[in-house]
Amino acid sequence: MSSQMDHQAAQQASAALPPAPDNLREQALQEFASAGFPTTSLEDWKYTNLREIADANLPLAEDAAIDGATRERLAEAIGDGAGLAFVNGHSVEIAAKSADGARLATVAHCLEHEPERIAAALRATGVIERSSLVALNSAFLGAGAVIDVPDDTVVETPIHLVYAARVSAAAASHVRNLITVGRNSRVTVVEHYLGLDDSRYWTNTATDAVLGDGARLSHCKIQCESGQAHHTADISVVQGADSQLHSLSIALGSRLCRNDIRSFFSAPGGHCSLDGLYMVDGQQHVDHHTSVDHAAPHCSSTELYKGILGGSATGVFNGKVLVRNQGQQTDAHQLNKNLLLSDAATINTKPQLEIFADDVKCSHGATTGRLDEDAIFFLRARAIDEPAARRLLTRAFANEIVGRIDVAGLRERVEETVDARLAAMIGSEENK
């Protein structure tokens, strides 16, 4: 899709999909055609190179046959929550609880029957500037979920969206989640990305969320893609007055992962906490770019991102906080902590504060280090062997984030996944 020829191919592929409201596909294609894939010459993409997918000219992923084991994994991810499951972007019927209070549908269903739900969500997040990957995603709109929570509604059951992938030849899927939370309403949405084998594919996902006044969204994204996969994600949230967003990103899989997480305060009194945990080793690359736009006064944001890096893995954290003229009495705090398990692992971490108001409280910090050898000796002097001591300390480091998952049952499952990942990472460091 990088050349003119590819653009034509993309145009044809996009045109073959069902029509989207507001000329969305055509406009998005235009936008992508003029911008192209992000390249490392852009400041925001300096450390994350998409050349491999830009050059691959991937076809859209096709429906895969679903066996019993796959069905079980999808059901397991949903647990006793509500939700939808997809394989390669294609919806799979799974028995799950209903999300009482919320309207939950696939994007495919809405394109056909309720296009205005899609149009409304996309119009609202239009105020946020996003990368050209989101335009490409719009051009191929088709996979994903639409969640609408009316005003004054508390949705007790967490909604799980499970995106699993298994391809026979390299392919792409573009996933779109559109979440609208009405005034004083509350909902929890969990996005799972699961590689079912070690196939090569690209997941390009975008989530748009619109929070009404006093609304609360707890959003958790768990990325366990195949080790060969590329994963790019953009989560953009427009926050109304006194609304609260809790975003949590757990990134464990994929060879390359880029997460853009953006919050825009459109009215006073909002709060967002953005948390993340990334664990990478081998040749993995993980990049979190956060962006909080304090366009209204009296809003607060806190960020805590923690990384565990081994092997020759590379990590990036860039935390942008923009406080506009009108963003008086902003309270914005940001912290990025990294634990390096090997000499070859690297992390690039950078706060990016752009402050135009004068009455603000902003702080940022970053740490990068190894495990505390005094703590390891202390544990060993209490009979705990060295590998166990290392695992214990590393797990404790990760648990500060995992412990913030407030979905019943999910935290325990993520703990297990994180533990297994940790054991593998520490094991591979020891065998070197």
């Binding site: 544990l379 002097a381 062997d385 214990l392 797990r395």
Partner: protein, 255 residues
């Protein structure tokens, strides 16, 4: 009391980097005994305690240490702990994200596994923890707090005694556990140590002050100066040091 040696140190030399710190230590501790090691700052007391616990920052350059007849220096720190050697740290380490009770249970189970015992049942552990916390007069809320994180100096020291009370070591080495403690806490440390004053335990208590020794009457007192034991005696020596200080030894060392 019998004269079964628990710890036999012979001509122990150790260095940090290129600097020799322990320069020939001889010391035997028998079962049932409490020994105090005193001495000026920087004389090597903590170094001795840490070498016995197996800290790798120190290199043993000569001599031997036998623990219950085995070569102690041959064991890793965790093996020593499993065999019953316990060091109460002069500066206990904070471990954010690990609860005190999880830490204590993991430690206890590592010791039990080594002894061929099953892991302790969760309920039994909570009972044991409750009992021992009461013994060291620690608020139950400390069981759920991260190990030593945000603890005051005194709370950290109490926590060391709690660990000791739960692991019931054969050889307890206390490195200035009394420093900075109020009278109540001192009494608790002394009670913790006195509980180990039986036929099959021994205690090596490093202290800068005689204060603790009012509560904890040592069988032997040694003065460490410049990496060597300059004098040994009974509890009377501690009182004498309290009066005269270490000036005499400083002169001896620098002479």
């Amino acid at each position: 009391m019998t004269n079964t040696p628990i710890l036999e140190i012979e001509d122990l030399h150790a260095k940090v980097g290129d600097t020799p710190i322990l320069r020939g230590i001889d010391l035997t501790i028998n079962a049932g005994e409490v020994h105090a090691i005193m001495g000026p700052n920087g004389s090597g007391k903590s170094t001795l305690a840490n070498v016995l616990a197996g800290r790798e920052d120190y290199t043993v350059t000569g001599g031997s240490v036998r623990y219950r007849g085995k070569d102690l220096l041959d064991l890793s720190p965790e093996e020593r702990a499993r065999e019953g050697v316990f060091l109460a740290f002069q500066y206990p380490v904070e471990i954010p994200g690990v609860s005190n009770s999880y830490f204590l249970r993991t430690a206890l189970n590592a010791v039990r596994e080594h002894r061929g015992e099953d892991p302790i049942d969760a309920m039994d552990f909570l009972k044991l923890l409750k009992e021992k916390m009461k013994f060291v007069e620690m608020d139950p809320k400390f069981q759920n707090r991260a190990v030593n994180e945000g603890f005051s100096g005194g709370e950290k020291k109490r926590n060391e005694i709690l660990q000791m009370a739960i692991l019931e070591p054969t050889l307890a080495i206390l490195d200035e556990t009394d420093s900075g403690l109020d009278i109540d806490a001192l009494r608790i440390v002394a009670e913790g140590v006195n509980a180990l004053r039986t036929e099959d335990h021994a205690v090596l208590c490093v202290t800068h002050y005689q204060r603790l020794l009012n509560y904890l009457v040592p069988d032997h007192v040694h003065v460490l100066v410049d990496g060597r034991i300059a004098r040994s005696g009974d509890k009377g020596l501690a009182l004498e040091l309290e009066e005269k200080g270490y000036a005499e030894f400083d002169r001896a060392a620098s002479a």
